[in-house]
Symmetry: C2
Subunit: 329 residues, 2 copies
Amino acid sequence: MSLRSHETIPVEIGLADVEAAATRLAPWAHRTPVLTSTTLNERSGLDVYLKCENFQRVGAFKFRGAMNALLQLDEERRFHGVVTHSSGNHAQALALAGRLLGVPVTIVMPRTAPAVKMAATEGYGARIVFCEPTLAAREAAVAAEMREHHLSLIHPYNDWDVIAGQGTAALELLDQVGRLDAVIVPVGGGGLASGTAIVAKGRAPAIHVIGAEPAAADDARRSLETGSIQPSGDPRTIADGLRTSLGARTFAVISRHVDEIVTATDDELIEATRFVWERLKIVIEPSSAVVVAPLLRGGLSVPGERVGIILSGGNVDVGPFFDLLSKRH
Amino acid sequence: MSLRSHETIPVEIGLADVEAAATRLAPWAHRTPVLTSTTLNERSGLDVYLKCENFQRVGAFKFRGAMNALLQLDEERRFHGVVTHSSGNHAQALALAGRLLGVPVTIVMPRTAPAVKMAATEGYGARIVFCEPTLAAREAAVAAEMREHHLSLIHPYNDWDVIAGQGTAALELLDQVGRLDAVIVPVGGGGLASGTAIVAKGRAPAIHVIGAEPAAADDARRSLETGSIQPSGDPRTIADGLRTSLGARTFAVISRHVDEIVTATDDELIEATRFVWERLKIVIEPSSAVVVAPLLRGGLSVPGERVGIILSGGNVDVGPFFDLLSKRH
């Protein structure tokens, strides 16, 4: 299926919208640090700047977009509340944003979602509605919630306010490091990649914008090649945050502003995750490693040495490790 | 056994020595970042500043002391080389410092040391000499190396140059955060605690200096209570970096400049390590968690809200976690 009707929608936001989002988010989101690593620089032959969104609230960049979207709702919509479908970081991000602003949040989740994700989302005070684990069931459940409870949909990525919010990470990164020759950003549904590309090209068109995705979920690469949104299907990859397809809005931005898509196999993702834990001493989730793997593999063609990468999140279940640690001890 | 003859040795270094060490180390050691965490602040009711020595070269503060000691050796001693006994972070730190300066490094290690530690130390180009896993065998092996190969001993902690080097972490921390009401530092052999205490009291005598150690290896607490060095014996604790007893020099500093010793059980150490991994998204070793556990437990009596903690290192074997991850995938 190719969604040709969506291909040519205009890009409705620009750098100024991301800058406005940054002002809006300043009291709420963390200005996350940028780290550097001698080891990573030596391995890659580049000067790499790591924007640590794993240190963001709820452990992922998703808080930026969710909060920006809620902050732009009018009073009536805030009163009725919002709904989204997600079993991942967007669910927790929206739940926390709602709690902070007093906006009721409903999350539609497949019955098969991990218990730990449900608990985390409920822990932020959101109401969970379960559905069968199919796209049709999910969309029906969201539509029913919107209709019956007058809820506003906050889409995980195909939403201009969400995209503008996600772009604030790249805005901070550029402010923090001054100048970049290239930026590498993960591509799942494309919200973070779109926001990042808008900022990079808006600030300095020469910045080479590289989207990174799992080889097993390379729908963005295929979409750019064919010129129309290619669905990702139900890909098997350890990068659980990057299994989704692009939306009409994110495809519109990415096809205009992303220069190149690179991919990494799951073996490379596991190796890169381990590299970051062992050598850089920070916890990232395998989805984040998609921007590190190309640096370890080498052969990236970038127009200069200063490369920013956005580490999207750090939510990974470390329970099994600590079970082992307790037992062995 | 109490080492009364050592109790009254003078403290031969002060703030100026640590400041000189900082200048000496500037081209070599990382100026590690200070992180903050809303979650940790909420849990502890304090403003906590985390000095991330897990991001230091070799993944631990130990590089500071080892490098400072090597940089102060004269040409002849550098030519012959140095020796130490360690199966932990000091071994790797000295090995790297030696490689950077072209100084031959010999490490005496018990035959029972983990293969991964041996490999890491050899990876930095050090020569390893094995001994039986007893104190007597270790001391005999070191003495033999010193005699036969004219090697200089770089003790892991009972050495003024090493102590001055370790103090540079606290110096940076104070420069980075401006002012602190208290600082919490792990106590193993006491090198980091001594350097930190010299800096804190040298800069602002009102800073409350808290040493933290495992409940199962509370030799520093007992040493301060009895007024003489109490050996730690062969304690069973997951905090493998904190099993050693104080030396004469570190006891001299700690008994003068450390205001209080707090302890944490191994269960608390595992819980605190997990908290830091899961919520703060950084990798620390269980020994580092000894400064976090008292904050999670609460009840700390500190004269103000601004508390600095020194996260000493992040060297922990994550292999079993990634074996699980690969298998489950």
